[in-house]
Symmetry: C2
Subunit: 421 residues, 2 copies
C-alpha cells in the first residue's frame, strides 16, 4: 500500500463545488488502495480577505497575531474538505499544523520547519482514515506559538510531511498540468515535460516559473521526495520532479526550458567609491532591511575616477523600501545617486546539458540579438543563463530562445486561467 | 491590582470599526490598572457563513470537523482585537482555547469544560500583556481534538477563565446594558436591575431572558464568580449577578421580573395507556434522540378509559425530530396520536420573594385572566411561575404581569437593536 501526500492550492478550493470535486479525487485515491494524506491551502480569496481586515484594524499588525489570524484560513478549508469526503462515505480527520507535528522556529510569517513529528497523522492513517493537514502553518518549538511558513508554505508542508511519513510521492495539484518548456501563454507550442530533475526545477522556480515554490523543491531534493505536479481539473499525467542532474546521461538532456519573471526591479547605485568593502556596505544596508537581492553586476571602474556603478535586481514589492534604506545610508557610503527601474523583465534558459555543451551562451546571445532584445545584465549558473531586458521585450525574448533551442512540442499546450498559491 | 475578565459578543465585533472600539475599552481598563483577560466571540456573521459553507459540502457534517471549522471564527476575531490593541500602543497576546488550557470532554458541538489550566494566560499576564482567549472552544482531554462548547460557549469560557484566574469580576459586554424587569421592547417602562442573585438569573435565563446563557450563570454560581452584564456601546453601569437568594433579607426582594420565550413548541401524546412506566417510555424515546424537554403535564386519567394525555414543551428547532421519534415508537407505546403545536408562548414570573409571600400565584392567574390570556400549562419552582399560552397573547401576558406586580421603573428603558451571541 503506497503512502501518497496530495496538496491542493487555493484556487482548487475556492467554492463548495470545487471542494467537492477535490474530495472525489481524494476518495478515488483512497479507493485505489493508497494511504492518503492531504494538505490544503486556504480557500480562494480567504487569505486576502483576512489581510484586508488586519490592515483595517492595524496597518502594522504584530506578526504573532498575523499568524494566528491567517492560519484560520487553512483550518477552514481542511475541515470543509474533510466534511466533503465524509459526504462521499469515506472517513477523514483534519489536523492543524500544530496537531500534525509541524515544528518550526519562531520567525513569524516566514518560519522554517525544524522537525515534523507526525505521530497523530500516522495513527489516524493506521486506523484507516484519510488525513487532512492544514498547510502553511506550524508551531514554534520555543514559544509554542502558532507560526506560518510564508510564501509557498503549503507546498513545503506537503513535501515535509511526505518526507516524515516516507511517502512514495508528493502530488502537488494546481491549475496547470505540470511544467512546460516555457509559459504556454507566451509560447503556444511549449512542450509538456514528463520529468525534470530537482536542480533544473530549482533553477526554473528561481527564474520565475510559478508552478512550484523554491523552498518545497529544496526540501524535496534534500529528502529525496518525488514530486508529481498535476492539474486538479484533469486526470492527465503531470510532471515528475525527481533525480539529480549528476545522474543524467550526458546525452539525454540538453536544454529543459525557458522561464521568465516580471516581478523584479533594478536598482543602480552610481559613482560608488571603488574601495574594498564599499559594495559590501551597500548589500549590508539592503540585507539589514531583510530584502533579498537576485542578480548583481558591478561595472568596471573608470580608471581615473576611482568610482564605480553597482546594479542589482530585487522583488518589485521590496523596491521602495530598498531605495529608502539606501538613501538613508548615502552619507556614510558616499555614492552619487540611487536609480530605480521597474520596467525590466528577466528571461532564463535552464538545462542540465548546458554543463557539457559549449556554445549555449553564444546561441543564447545571438537569438536575443536577432529578436532585437538588448541585454542589460547577464548572470549564469552551471545549468542556467539569465538576462535582464526591457519588460516590453520579454515575450519576444522568451519566444526567441524557445525557438533557437528547438524546445517546442508537436501540439499546442492547453492554457488554464488563474494561478495557484 | 484587580484581575478582570471581559467578554465581547459577535455583534460588538462585527466590523473593523467596532473591533477598534472594543480595543479602546480594553486598553482603558488596562490603563486604569487592572490585569485584563478578554474573551471574544466570532465576528458578526462569521459563524453563520461557516455553517452555510459546511451545509453546502455536507448537509450532515461530522461533528469533529464542524468544531475544527467553527473555531476558526473565534481565532480570527481574537487575533484582530489583539492587532487593534497593539495599534493603540498596548501589548496583547491571543491564545486559542487549547493554548489557554480550556480542557473539555469529547462531546463535539456541546463539550463540557472539565478543567481550566491557564498557565500560559497567567504567564502572559505576569509579563504585562493584555491576554485574549478565543471563546467557545477547548481541547478534548482524551482525544486532544478541538471541541466547541455549544450555545453560550463564549460566556462560559469567560466565566470559567475568571474562576480559574480567581478574577475579581467577569464582565459580559453585550448589546443591552443589563437585565430588565421585562423585555423593554414589550414593556416600555421595564426597570433596569442593578443586582440580581444567581438563582434568579438562572430562572430568568431558563425562562427565555437572552442576556446571559444558563450555563455561564450556573458555572459562575458554582465558583462564586460575580458577573457584570454591560453594554459595549455605553459606559453605564450594568447588572451585577452575584449572591444567593438564601442570603437575601426576606423583606428585600419580592418579584424580580417577567421573562418570556417564543422558541418553544408543545407536543401532546393522546390516549396513552395509563400504566406505570408508559410516560417514562415517552420521555425515554425523546431523551434517546438527545432532545431536552422543558415543561410537562399529564392530564388526570379518565376513570373509565384507563388512558391519559401527556403534554410537554421543547425547543421548536427539535420539534420535527421529536415527533418523528415518537411516531416511530407508536407501536410499542400504544398511544393514539401525536399533536404538534408551534403557536405557543411561555411567560414566567421570577422572584426570590415568592418563597415567603403567599398569594403570588393567585395574583398571577387573576392578572392573566383579566388580560384574557388562557393558561394551557402551568409549572412552578420555588422562585418562578411559568405558563404556556397562545403566542398571539404573549405580549399582553407580559404586560399584564409586569403591571400587576408593579415592576415598572420611572423612566422609559432604552432599546438597542440586535441580539448578542
Amino acid at each position: 500500500m503506497a503512502v501518497v501526500v496530495q496538496k491542493y492550492g487555493g484556487s482548487s478550493l475556492e467554492n463548495a463545488d470545487r471542494i467537492k470535486r477535490v474530495a472525489e479525487r481524494i476518495v478515488n485515491a483512497r479507493k485505489a488502495g493508497d494511504e492518503v494524506v492531504v494538505v490544503c491551502s486556504a480557500m480562494g480569496d480567504t487569505t486576502d480577505e483576512l489581510l484586508d481586515l488586519a490592515e483595517r484594524v492595524n496597518p502594522v499588525p504584530p506578526e504573532r497575531e498575523m499568524d494566528m489570524l491567517l492560519t484560520a484560513g487553512e483550518r477552514i478549508s481542511n475541515a470543509l474538505v474533510a466534511m466533503a469526503i465524509s459526504a462521499l462515505g469515506a472517513e477523514a480527520r483534519s489536523f492543524s499544523g500544530s496537531q500534525a507535528g509541524v515544528i518550526t522556529d519562531s520567525a513569524h510569517g516566514k518560519a522554517r520547519i525544524i522537525d515534523v513529528t507526525p505521530g497523530r497523522v500516522q495513527q489516524a492513517l493506521d486506523e484507516g482514515y484519510i488525513v487532512l493537514v492544514a498547510g502553511f502553518q506550524g508551531v514554534s518549538q520555543d514559544t509554542k506559538d502558532i507560526t506560518t511558513l510564508g510564501r509557498g508554505g503549503s507546498d513545503t508542508t506537503a513535501v515535509a510531511l511526505a518526507a516524515a511519513l516516507k511517502a512514495d510521492v508528493c502530488e502537488i495539484y494546481t491549475d496547470v498540468d505540470g511544467v512546460y518548456s516555457a509559459d504556454p501563454r507566451i509560447v503556444p507550442n511549449a512542450k509538456h515535460l514528463k520529468t525534470i530533475t530537482y536542480e533544473e526545477m530549482l533553477e526554473m522556480a528561481a527564474a520565475g516559473a510559478k508552478v512550484l515554490h523554491l523552498r518545497a523543491v529544496e526540501y524535496a531534493r534534500r529528502y529525496g521526495v518525488p514530486i508529481h505536479v498535476r492539474s486538479s481539473y484533469s486526470n492527465k499525467p503531470g510532471t515528475t520532479v525527481s533525480g539529480s542532474v549528476e545522474a543524467l546521461p550526458v546525452e539525454q538532456a540538453l536544454i529543459t526550458g525557458v522561464a521568465h519573471d516580471r516581478s523584479e526591479a533594478k536598482i543602480t547605485v552610481t559613482s560608488v567609491p571603488d574601495h574594498p568593502g564599499q559594495a559590501a556596505q551597500i548589500f549590508r544596508v539592503v540585507a539589514d532591511a531583510e530584502i533579498d537581492i537576485d542578480m548583481v553586476v558591478q561595472n568596471v571602474s573608470g580608471a581615473t575616477s576611482g568610482r564605480t556603478d553597482i546594479t542589482f535586481t530585487l522583488s518589485k514589492s521590496e523596491g521602495p523600501r530598498a531605495v529608502a534604506a539606501l538613501e538613508k545610508a548615502k552619507p556614510q557610503i558616499g555614492f552619487d545617486q540611487v536609480l530605480y527601474d521597474e520596467h525590466v523583465g528577466k528571461v532564463s534558459l535552464i538545462g542540465a546539458g548546458m554543463r557539457s555543451h559549449p556554445g549555449v551562451t553564444a546561441t543564447f546571445c545571438e537569438a536575443l540579438a536577432r529578436a532585437g532584445v538588448n541585454i542589460e545584465i547577464i548572470s549564469t549558473s552551471e545549468i542556467r543563463i539569465s538576462v535582464i531586458c526591457r519588460d516590453t521585450e520579454l515575450d519576444d525574448a522568451v519566444r526567441a530562445l524557445h525557438g533557437a533551442f528547438d524546445l517546442g512540442g508537436e501540439e499546442e499546450a492547453v492554457v488554464y486561467a488563474g494561478t495557484g498559491r
